[in-house]
Assembly symmetry: C2
Homo-oligomer: 164 residues x 2
């Protein structure tokens, strides 16, 4: 459980208006759910809000603990189902490396995301990446459906401190 309320948390590792960042994402989710005729229920909305609080990835059980504290559900399937819905709708991404979830930086476009994960502070920034395996895939005839791209390292802030 990570209580983190700092606005120094960057989007692309840059300071930004996080409140705007949150409300924009929520509004987009509202619109998209309406357009797609899927239900943006209280549990689902709350899970997205929780993930939007910071740019760190949260584990399903972290999310569940928050839901539980608010009386919205206490058993793993509740959290996993909401997360699965949000991932399906493209509002949340799963970070394989961390077995954790993070709110999408831009749910309005369908995209194949890439991430930079700071191993010191846990911040995860979403980025755009080239298809790194296009060549190999083309040569071998492999048909790519989805590519996980997750870089791990140190964000600008954390490089300043010595971290062995």
């Amino acid at each position: 459980m990570a209580r983190h309320d700092k606005s120094a948390t960057p989007l692309g590792f840059a300071a930004h208006d996080h409140t705007a960042c949150q409300s924009r994402a929520l509004a987009t989710a509202d619109q998209l759910c309406a357009a797609r005729r899927v239900q943006f229920t209280p549990v689902r909305r709350r899970v997205l809000e929780i993930l939007l609080e910071s740019h760190e990835a949260l584990g399903a059980y972290d999310v569940l603990a928050r839901l539980n504290a608010e009386g919205l559900g206490s058993k793993p399937p509740v959290a996993y189902r909401a997360l699965a819905f949000l991932v399906d709708q493209g509002f949340v991404h799963r970070i394989e490396r961390l077995n954790a979830f993070i709110a999408c930086a831009d749910p309005s476009h369908d995209h194949s995301p890439a991430f930079m994960i700071c191993r010191a502070c846990g911040t995860v920034a979403e980025a755009h990446a080239q298809m790194p395996l296009g060549d190999s895939a083309a040569r071998s005839g492999f048909q790519i459906e989805q590519t996980v791209i997750e870089a791990e390292g140190l964000c600008p802030d954390c490089q300043e401190v010595r971290t062995p």
Copy 2:
């Protein structure tokens, strides 16, 4: 010293002399362990042999079951420690997407691997990839230490089965 008789097709999706593939990998591991003065113990060697049997990724508990059947250890830490050693030495890669492990296609060079995972047959091919986040990282000042690149899709063989 590059004894690469490599076709354009990544190992794993192409027919090849797998016996040679295995013994080459084992011989390389032997040499590197000797050179590095680390112990290539029976458990470690056997785990590598097990992973070398196919180009599919095995979970730690799959490996453990094999070890157990051969009287080489029955508790999770035995498998996880051997796997950690092999990963450290670069003889084995972890596939994050699958929470599983696969023998390295070419342990003789230090490399940052990328993978193509067939969702139908489970074959995993190792490939070379460009640094897909170099631009984003440079712009944001993120210092990349390691990048996970894992494409999922259909290998050439498994595409043929589809008849729509």
